[in-house]
Symmetry: C2
């Protein structure tokens, strides 16, 4: 049975989704020792408000590096949810930022207020890290320990404590 | 005739190649209006000193997002050159950082001292941006104008002037 596991992270350009994808990929690839491919694609839609990055994780070498039918979709705003929900596995996990996504077209999903939690921590820009914490708690993509190491290795110097708190807040929000 | 154009950027973990790949992809995808895929892969080698990122640029939608036979390889150290030179097109463009790559197994390549140029600008860490400037001058991957916009949009606040100088130095080094 295939161990291939596909994650799509979607949001607007300024929400730090590419960095979130790099952190998730390095957590799984470098610290959990899996095979990982991480992809960004740009096309005519690149100037709009929806962008995505994809991370494919496997115990075996990865042939096709893009998500074919994501196991997980994290959508950080309404536009990116609408643009990228297509293809999500029927039993897939949909996680949305409740602060910025008012309308969800499925009846099975997890909504958590990532942006609101980040604001309470003092910096809205860490909503991406809060969301990664929740994703780790809710999926089998990555271990929280590896994710913590990858976050600290990638975030700007001087923001380590803030990002550590953001990750912990995301884990806690998803495991009430 | 296919317009597919494949670029592989390789170096050690700390040399900023992923950021260089993101900048190159956004320059071509957002500012030049091309279809672009940008990929990082991690496997058992991820803990070693060689990492790579790939950017595929096309006028048409991209089916397979990884480099099959790169048109360009930029190698920022010896280990990554040795690890990732395989597959470079016979007529492909090889660019190496002369500061850190003493041995090149081909007889047709461009060597420029990216790290030394970056040191002269005061910050070794901008060697990746110097190299991108040279890559833009030597290849048809991206226009220098779009690359300049993408650099300014992605580098840390407060480093815009340094990075602008780094890009200009790379362009100038490759167009003496």
């Amino acid at each position: 049975m295939s161990t291939r596991y596909e994650i799509r992270l979607a949001g607007s350009g300024g929400q730090g989704l590419i960095l979130a994808g790099i952190i998730l990929a390095e957590a799984a690839g470098i610290y959990d020792g899996k095979f990982v491919c991480q992809t960004q694609s740009y096309g005519p839609e690149a100037r709009g408000g929806a962008s995505k990055t994809e991370v494919v994780i496997s115990d075996e070498e990865i042939d096709y590096p893009k998500a074919i039918q994501p196991d997980v979709l994290l959508a950080m705003n309404q536009k990116s949810l609408d643009a990228y929900i297509g293809g999500l596995k029927p039993e897939g996990l949909l996680i949305v930022d409740a602060t910025l996504v008012p309308e969800v077209p499925l009846d099975r999903f997890v909504a958590l207020p990532f942006t609101e939690i980040a604001r309470e921590l003092g910096r809205e820009m860490v909503a991406n890290i809060v969301a990664l914490g929740a994703l780790a708690a809710l999926s089998r993509a990555v271990t929280p320990e590896s994710l913590g190491k990858a976050v600290l290795a990638r975030v700007p110097k001087g923001t380590e404590e803030l990002n550590h708190k953001a990750l912990a807040a995301g884990l806690a929000a998803a495991r009430p």
